[in-house]
Amino acid sequence: MSELEKLKSELNSLGKEYAKIKTLPPEERKDFGIKLNQKKEDLLQKIQQAEAAEQSKNIEPIDITAPSAPNEQIPEFKNGSKHPLMTELDRVCDIYSRMGFNVMEARTIDDEFNMFEALNFPEGHPARDGYDTFRTAEGFIPPAHTSTMQHRALKKYKKDLENGGQIAVVIPGRVYRNEDVDATHEHTFYQCEGIFVSKDATMGQMLGVLKNFFETYYGQELNIRTQPGYFPFTEPSLEFMIEKPKSLGGKGDGWLEMLGCGMIHPNVLKMAGIDPAKYKGFAWGGGIDRLVMLRYGLTDVRYFESGKLEFLKEF
């Protein structure tokens, strides 16, 4: 008799056991019934397992380590890839989004007003030369930084302020500098701008927000450091650095320069029709290319816009 047959006959014999219930004193019947039911459950489960084993009896073993069954074609799947800059930009925006920042995309061509005037660069000021801007015959400018969007963003979300809220927005975008390309310089790269305006924004809050962002981004607590900077559109202006994160091989010593930031200059608020006596804000902007290069240990920025599959397939 096979194991399965044994189990089945055992199950059959349970019928007799059930019949015994009637012969028992009423107070014992409940306990007896529970035990019997349990026994039946166990038997049924064992029978199911035995049946499954029976069915699999004729299955031939395969080489689970082989790439295919004998005489069959090796399966081929084509994998696509996302551009690492776009993946990173999505991650960055995602984190800011979760922190409560709206996201709006920067535009690829802009004008002198948004690039300089609206950002409190006096006309003819040498700081304008520092950006090595491209220009079209009509005087338009492929933006040299995402700050070009500040004025627009402030105007767009101004009504949120007037309704008692705040302006919180990040703006990713492509930016351009007229310079020669080498392993560490590209004329085309990506930045992400951030703006926060409220009645009581402080520099302490700015440092807190940025620290929090990078801690979320790198998944660890980080020390931060700053350095005085100069941008006509923020006052005070800072360069923001973080401790080299562990995931990048940091051992608590090195520092990474991450972005420029500062309290929005009252003239910039004024230009957008926001009263600097009532509202204060902070803004920052940093490169995305560098984040990707750090993450993957890339040393040549030229890969990003190369369109080379040998590079893209790695992502």
């Binding site: 696509g80 009581d200 080379k308």
Partner: protein, 877 residues
């Protein structure tokens, strides 16, 4: 800009508790990024002051065999240790047995200890003090590059130990005419004794120093820090030390020009220091002469102040016989010694930030044909010519400011003097200019004429008018000639500014809790004083701080000088309002996920700019593109109108690299003139998706359809009537969504394929804005049946030119009219054997929502289906 820490220490006493490393860190975190801190000490190790005791010419050569007194210097020479004859061989002493040390007796008369050096310099002579680079020294000129290490070698049969160094070899100048000579009457710093053989060269000339390399761009807004005094003031401020503006020259009056000379009162016609001028310096000009100099400034904006002096000087171009601390001072700042007058003005510029220019007085009035100087400061006329000091003749623009003598140009203001008034050996009087000019004009001059001198670098930051006279007064002192006449024209009088604000203003912007007294002290340290008026805080802006105008400027100073890193970090409190997603970014993310994760495509990013050649090749109208006028390369000539041409270039590149069967796509913005402008007058942009694949039309179409399906978009294709010229019209289609053409799909035109050396390539490009329209989204309610479905195959023989879609539409129409019917229709195959006909096969499946369909019912439906295709001359196969 190069800043010497030793110089800074002359103005600020750095507390002992602050190490050099700490100081550099503090400067980095509270003033400006330090690109590099260069330690000079190792560069001048093993360089000593020596006396040439004997000097004999070597017959038949230009060389001299010298015996030098090296005092009790203990030069280190580890490399030579142990190798016989390696160490410097003292003359008249026991031969060296173990190298690496000077074996001269240090207990006895060290002057008797001599070392032999062979020297080729024409000026080497007995008795002079020179600089000896001992064996083991690296020639400073080569330090950090080839690191040429000196040893002991034979020259013309004579052993030569190390070398006697020239100015160039010491990396302190360009002069190669002879060896450096040291003034024997010079004091050893900090003592009253004279320098002597064996003294360390670095100790005597303060070369045990750290040089901070600062990017000029980082201090664009701080003209005051372009002078050592201004930089030192900041260092005091960040250390919380009061900068002793009053620490005046009396204490150090006798120091040489490299010393820590502050702007000091002029000894002629003493006047009390006034609030507007630098402390300890006069801001009114020394009165001299009979007022014959006339200064005419065309526009106060071009030149807020022009001060000048005429000085009699017969030795203006004289070169110092000895190496002076001034030469070393200049070298540390990256400048070179020229002659007496240029050195003095350059040193003053490095100390104060104020450039000066000296004209030959006689030439100046001769050029203008006047009896006394008649200065005009004016804009140049278009193409007005001027020969500069470097010999070049420039053609001016109308932005250039000229200094003219009776309207004859003699200098390009702030940039360079003219050749006609150059100082030379025959000069007996100089006309010294100390002025300030419009930084905007000078910026244009700098860029247009390509002049990047230390002087114009400072002028273009906007040097304050308040300092022209004090610096001129100091220059007069240092030059030491006889002062003949002075003049000062100050039409652009700097207004003294007062900034009122409250302690709350400061703390509420920074998020700090500074006490009023702390704030007042922080700012007083750098000369920004609270005037104690009725306002909470009322700061008087010192004349050198041309960057302070508004409250926030003061707040920045408080935060910065106390350290931004000390500000407590907090987070803003926000209401629970969901952040808005950017619809376009969301769509792009979705598309990226579908194409890359499901459809095997690779995302690329290519440049926004393209070569016009490419545009022409693919048949785009180059005139419709915005053109970049200052591009660095022809590949960046025009803003692109579409993405596909860029992708085609990348298809070529990758197939050349050996890749086959691949798909690339990009999502980016495009623009062209015909798109017009936005409300705020900037060019409209479109967000496009383009995809290119090394396959035929149907592959690209399948990708597009899969994408559309995943996005719940009901797209269709229709005949390609017009569209981008790079599509092969008969193998291309317009992509339709809700009746609108949203893009194009097709094989790339043969001519373009061959022009770009492409394999068979297909592409599509769509305007993503259409996809955002919520009305275009079609999410069908799934219709499900609990009754089984039945399948039927249908093959129809139709004319070869019949469009698949028309046949399918007819069938779909028929099926849509059936009651309670759920169906699917799937293409099975398209088979063509003859030229005139083709067989199209479908798989159909049917189910009813009400019951199980019987065979007869299905046959009836099939009958209707077949009838509906009769109009196409279809027959069932």
């Amino acid at each position: 800009m190069r800043i010497s820490l030793n110089e800074i220490k002359k103005y600020v006493s750095i507390p002992e508790s602050v190490s050099t490393e700490d100081l550099i860190k503090l400067i980095g975190s509270r003033l400006v990024e330090v690109e590099e801190a260069i330690d000079l000490a190792p560069k001048y190790k093993n360089a000593y002051i020596v006396k040439v005791a004997e000097c004999e010419p070597i017959e038949g050569t230009h060389l001299h065999r010298c015996a030098i007194e090296i005092g009790d210097c203990e030069y280190e020479n580890s490399d030579l240790s142990g190798c016989g004859g390696g160490a410097a061989e003292p003359i008249g002493a026991a031969p060296a047995t173990a190298g690496g040390r000077n074996h001269c007796p240090t207990n006895g008369d060290s002057r008797s200890c001599k070392v032999q050096v062979v020297c080729g310099a024409p000026n080497v002579r007995k008795g002079m003090l020179a600089v000896w680079l001992a064996p083991g020294a690296i020639v400073p000129q080569t330090y950090g590059n080839e690191n040429f290490k000196l040893g002991v070698r034979k020259l013309q049969g004579y052993e030569s130990n190390g070398m006697l160094a020239g100015l160039d070899e010491l990396d302190l100048g360009d002069d190669h005419s002879g060896i450096v000579e040291i003034d024997p009457s010079m004091d050893f710093p900090g003592t009253t004794r004279n320098v002597q053989p064996g003294d360390s060269f670095a100790d005597v000339f303060e070369l045990n120093d750290i040089i901070l390399d600062i990017e000029n761009k980082s201090l664009t807004h701080r003209p005051d820090t372009f002078g050592l005094i201004g930089f030192a003031r900041e260092v005091a401020g960040i250390l919380g030390i009061n900068f002793a503006e009053g620490l005046v020259s009396s204490k150090i009056a006798d120091m040489s020009i490299s010393g820590s000379i502050f702007l000091r009162e002029n000894t002629i016609g003493r006047a009390p220091a006034t609030a507007g001028g630098p402390t300890g310096a006069r801001d009114d000009i020394t009165q001299a002469g009979d007022g014959k100099i006339s200064i005419k400034i065309e526009d106060a904006k071009l030149c807020p102040r022009y001060s000048c002096a005429v000085i009699e000087m017969k030795d203006a171009t004289e070169k110092e016989k000895y190496l002076t601390p001034g030469v070393v001072f200049l070298a540390k700042a990256g400048m070179r010694t020229i002659d007496k007058i240029v050195d003095i003005t350059n040193i003053l510029m490095l100390q104060t930030g104020q450039p000066l220019h000296a004209f030959d007085y006689d030439k100046f009035i001769k050029v203008g044909n006047t009896k006394s100087p008649k200065v005009t400061v004016r804009l140049a006329k278009e193409n007005e010519e001027l020969q500069l000091l470097d010999g070049k003749t420039i053609k001016c623009t109308t932005d250039d400011i000229l200094i003219a003598s009776n309207d004859v140009p003699v200098a390009l203001a702030g940039a360079m003097g003219g050749a006609s008034t150059e100082i030379d050996a025959s000069t007996t009087k100089i006309f010294l200019e100390s002025a300030t000019f419009s930084l905007y004009n000078l910026r244009k001059t700098q860029m247009y004429h390509g002049i990047f001198s230390e002087a114009i670098t400072r002028f273009t930051k906007g040097q304050p008018a308040g300092q022209t006279v004090p610096v001129l007064n100091e220059a007069i002192e240092r030059l030491g000639g006889e002062l003949i006449e002075t003049a000062d024209s100050y039409p652009g009088k700097q207004k003294s500014e007062v900034i009122n604000l409250t302690t709350h203003d400061i703390n509420s912007l920074l998020g700090t809790n500074y006490k009023t007294s702390e704030i007042v002290k922080t700012l007083a340290n750098v000369g920004i004083n609270d005037t104690n008026t009725a306002a909470d805080l009322s700061f008087c802006v010192p004349y050198w701080r041309t960057d302070l105008h508004i409250k926030e400027d003061i707040i920045e100073e408080v935060g910065r000088l106390n350290g931004y890193d000390n500000i407590p970090k907090t987070l803003p409190i926000r209401p629970f309002i969901g952040a808005k997603e950017d619809e376009m970014l969301k769509l792009k993310k979705q598309i990226r996920s579908i194409l890359s994760d499901n459809l095997g495509a690779h995302e690329v990013l290519t440049y926004t700019f393209v070569n016009k050649k490419l545009q022409k090749l693919v048949g785009e109208d180059t005139k419709d593109s915005y053109e970049i006028i200052n591009s660095i390369s022809p590949d960046l000539q025009a803003l692109r109108q579409s993405l596909t041409p860029s992708l085609l270039e990348k298809i070529y590149l990758n197939q050349k690299a050996g890749y086959k069967d691949f798909t690339l796509y990009e999502m980016n913005q495009v623009t062209k003139k015909s798109l017009g402008f936005t409300e705020d007058k900037v060019p409209n942009v479109e967000h496009h998706l383009a995809l290119a694949t090394t396959h035929d039309y149907y592959y690209a179409k399948a990708l597009l359809e899969n994408l559309a399906k995943s996005l719940h978009l009901n797209i269709a294709v229709k005949e390609f009537k017009s569209g981008p010229a790079y599509f092969e019209p008969l193998h291309s289609a317009e992509i339709i969504l809700n009746g609108q053409t949203i893009g194009y799909l097709g094989e790339i035109r043969m001519g373009v394929q061959s022009g770009l050396k492409l394999p068979l390539t297909s592409a599509f490009e769509i305007n993503l804005a259409f996809l955002l329209d919520i009305n275009n989204h079609h999410i069908a309610m799934p219709r499900l049946s609990k009754y089984p479905s039945s399948e039927r195959d249908l093959t129809l023989k139709v004319p070869a030119d019949l469009a698949y879609e028309s046949l399918k539409d007819a069938i779909v129409n028929t099926l849509d009219n059936q009651d309670n019917l759920i169906y699917t229709i799937t293409p099975a195959s398209i088979y063509q054997k003859e030229k005139s006909t083709k067989n199209i096969s479908f798989k159909l499946s049917f189910a009813s929502t009400k019951k199980t369909l019987e065979s007869a019912e299905i046959s009836a439906i099939m009958e209707e289906v077949i009838n509906s295709t009769a109009a196409f001359h279809a027959s069932v196969v």
